[in-house]
Symmetry: C2
Subunit: 378 residues, 2 copies
C-alpha cells in the first residue's frame, strides 16, 4: 500500500473528518508510509476546536465503563510520544496532574462514590481533605469539602494540536456527500477513489452512515488572566453539576462544559454561559476578576453506550468515530489502531468492545437509549 | 458664523468627541448653518456603542436630583423630532413605555421608595401588582413582587443613531492632544483652528481638560431571540442590584449594566457577565434559552454630582460632557443648548446647574466625592 507516487486525488486512504481523530489517523498512516488525505469542510473547526484538552482517564472513569477506562488508560500512555513528536511546548502538553473537588456535602458524596471506583480499579489517586485541596490549588473556595488528586491526568491545548497536525497532513476542504469502502463522493460532485476509506466525522458520522452517533452539545468559555493564576486543572462537582477549569501556559483558562441533547445546534445561550460561570465561580471565586474572552459551543460525538466506534464495519469502511468526551485523549491510540487495521496488522488494543456492528441489532428507527453517565452528571 | 465656504481644516466649530453628544451637537450646528466638524480617534466607538438606549427620565429619577430630572424630562420631549429627522425606523425609536419590577420584598421596598419620589415630582407612572406586571410583560418571573409602568420612558438603538449621525456629520478620525477656545492640536501634530471649540469627549474629558469627569465602567450583554419575545424594556431591582433588558425590533435584547469604578478599563470579566446573567435570568427566566451574541464594556462619563457639564468654561471652551447614564437621552437637548451658546443665543434650558465652573472651588487633588445614587444601586 505504500506506493508514494499517487496523486492527492487517488491516495491510499481517504480519511473523512479533519478533527483531531481524523488528522491523527492520517498522520499516523503517513508516518507509516501510507499516502493519506483528510476531507473536511473546515478541518479542525468542530469539537476539537471547542475541547478543553483534558487527557484524563481517571477523571473520566465511571462505574460500568471498564472497557472505556482501559482504552483511556492505554491512550494516556500513548500521549508522551505523540506530544514529543508534535512538540511538547508547541501543543502545551502539561503533566502536572488534575484535581477533582467537591463543593458541598452532597457533591462530596458523589466524589466518594467515584473514589470507591478508583480504589476498585486500582487507579493511582490521592484523596485530599479541604485544606489539602487548597494547598495544591489556592484559588479553590475555602468551603470546598474535599477532593481527589490524580497525577496521571494530563492536559494539552487541542487547538494547537490540530494546528500542528494540519502542518503535517494534506486536507481537502470540501464536505463529503457519500462514502463507501473505497470511494468518497464530495459535495462539489468530484469523486475520490482509494484503497480504504476511514470515517472520523465526529458528530456528523451518524448523518453520513447508519451508525448511532449523535451530537451532544457542549458550551465552553475561555477566560484570560495572569500566567500561573490557576496552577492545576480543576474539575469540580458543584451542586450536582460538573464543571472544569483547565489552565494554559499563556494564562488562558478553559471553562466547560454544558452537556445538552439539542441536535446540531451550536448556539451559545444566556443560560448555558450562566450555569458555567455560576459553577466555576462558586468553586474558584478568584476567577471573577479576569477577562471572559470567548464563548463557544461544539458537538461531541456521542454513542448509545458512551464508547467510541473503532473498527471495520460490515460495509468495509473503517470507523474512528463516537469518541464523545475523550477525542483528544484517545486520538493517538485510535490513530495507531486504525493504521494497523488498514494495513492488516493486529491493533495495539482490543477493539472488540468498540465494533461498528455492535449496534446493528437495534431495530431501524429505534436506536438503543442513551445511557446516562453514572456517578457525576455533566 | 455661517460662512459655508471654509475648508474642513478651518471650520466654524470643532467638536472634540464623536460620541452621540458630540455628533448631535455638530449636526445641530450644521442644520443651523454653522460649519462644524467632529474630531475623534474612533467616532461612535465609545460609551455610545455600549449604551442600551433607554430614554428614561422617570426610571433615571433619583432623590435629590431634581435638576437632573428636569433636564431629562426636557430631553425626552426633544426626542420625537430628533428621531423623526434621523428616521424613526432607522434608529429603532420605540415609545411603548418601560416597566420597573421588584424581584423580592426588599427590592419592593426600594421600588416603593422611588414611587414616593415619582408621586412627589408628579410623574406619570402606574403602580402595578405582580399579576399586572406579568400581564404587561409575560416573560417576567412569577415571583416578581410588583412594579411601576412608565409610559413616558422610551428607547432607541444608539448604534443606529450614531450611524445615522455619521452620515450627516464630517469626522476627522485622529485623537486630539490639546484643546483651547479656538484651536485643537491633533496627536499627529496638525493644528485645527476655528472660532469655537466644543469638548464632548465623554470619559476622556477629564484627561483632556481639568474638569472632574471620570470613567465609570459598564459591562453589557447582547442576547438575540425571536422578534417580540420581550415586549417591553424591563428594569429590575434584583436582590438590591439593578439590571435592565431592552428589546430591539429585530429580536436583540440588550442587558446591562455593571457600574464599576475601575479607571480606563474596558475588560469584560467573568464576574461582570455572571452578575448580569444572574440578575436578568432571575427576573426574566425565559431568556435562558436564547443566544448570547455579544459581551462588551464601555465607559460612562461620571461627574461628582452625577449631573452633566454643559456650558462655557472660564477657559472659553464650550463643554458638553459628563452625561453619565443619560448621554443618549440628553444628546438632542445638549446639542440644541450648545448650538445656542455658540451663536450667542439663550439656550432652551437653564444651564446654571450644569456649569463647567461649579467644581472649581475644589482644592487641587481633592475633588468632591462621588455621590452615591440614592434609591436604586447600580
Amino acid at each position: 500500500m505504500a506506493d508514494r507516487h499517487k496523486s492527492l486525488s487517488k491516495p491510499d486512504v481517504v480519511v473523512v473528518g479533519g478533527g483531531v481523530v481524523g488528522l491523527s489517523t492520517a498522520w499516523q498512516l503517513i508516518k507509516e508510509g501510507v499516502e493519506a488525505v483528510v476531507v473536511d469542510p473546515q478541518p479542525g473547526a468542530g469539537a476539537s476546536h471547542a475541547a478543553a484538552g483534558m487527557l484524563a482517564p481517571i477523571h473520566e472513569a465511571y462505574w460500568g465503563e471498564s472497557h472505556i477506562l482501559g482504552l483511556n488508560l492505554a491512550a494516556s500512555q500513548a500521549w508522551p510520544v505523540f506530544a514529543e513528536q508534535l512538540g511538547v511546548d508547541a501543543v502545551d502538553y502539561c503533566r502536572n496532574g488534575m484535581l477533582m473537588a467537591a463543593y458541598d456535602v452532597d457533591d462530596k458524596a458523589l466524589l466518594d462514590n467515584l473514589s470507591d471506583l478508583h480504589a476498585q480499579e486500582g487507579l493511582p489517586v490521592e484523596r485530599l481533605r479541604s485544606r489539602e485541596c487548597r494547598s495544591r490549588e489556592p484559588l479553590l473556595a475555602p468551603g470546598v469539602r474535599g477532593g481527589v488528586y490524580s497525577p496521571l491526568d494530563h492536559h494539552v491545548n487541542p487547538r494547537r494540536v490540530v494546528a500542528e497536525l494540519l502542518r503535517r497532513v494534506p486536507a481537502v476542504a470540501i464536505p463529503a456527500a457519500e462514502v463507501s469502502q473505497n470511494r468518497v463522493m464530495l459535495e462539489d460532485g468530484q469523486t475520490m477513489s482509494c484503497q480504504q476509506v476511514v470515517v472520523a466525522a465526529g458528530a456528523w458520522t451518524g448523518r453520513l452512515l447508519g451508525v448511532p452517533v449523535r451530537p451532544v452539545k457542549g458550551q465552553i468559555l475561555r477566560l484570560s488572566g495572569p500566567e500561573g493564576l490557576l496552577r492545576l486543572p480543576v474539575r469540580g462537582v458543584v451542586r450536582g453539576s460538573s464543571v472544569y477549569a483547565v489552565p494554559r501556559s499563556d494564562g488562558e483558562i478553559v471553562v466547560g462544559a454544558t452537556v445538552e441533547e439539542q441536535g446540531f445546534d451550536t448556539r451559545v445561550t444566556a443560560g448555558g454561559v450562566y450555569e458555567l460561570l455560576r459553577a466555576v465561580l462558586s468553586l474558584l471565586p478568584g476567577l471573577s476578576e479576569i477577562d471572559l474572552v470567548e464563548t463557544w459551543a461544539g458537538l461531541r460525538p456521542g454513542t448509545p453506550d458512551n464508547a467510541p466506534i473503532i473498527g471495520t464495519g460490515a460495509d468495509g469502511i473503517v470507523y474512528a468515530a463516537g469518541h464523545y468526551r475523550n477525542g483528544i485523549l484517545t486520538a493517538p491510540i485510535t490513530a495507531a489502531a486504525v493504521a494497523a487495521l488498514v494495513q492488516g496488522r493486529r491493533p495495539p488494543v482490543d477493539l472488540s468492545p468498540f465494533s461498528p456492528d455492535r449496534f446493528a441489532a437495534a431495530p431501524t428507527g429505534r436506536l438503543p437509549e442513551a445511557k446516562p453517565l453514572s456517578g457525576v452528571p455533566g
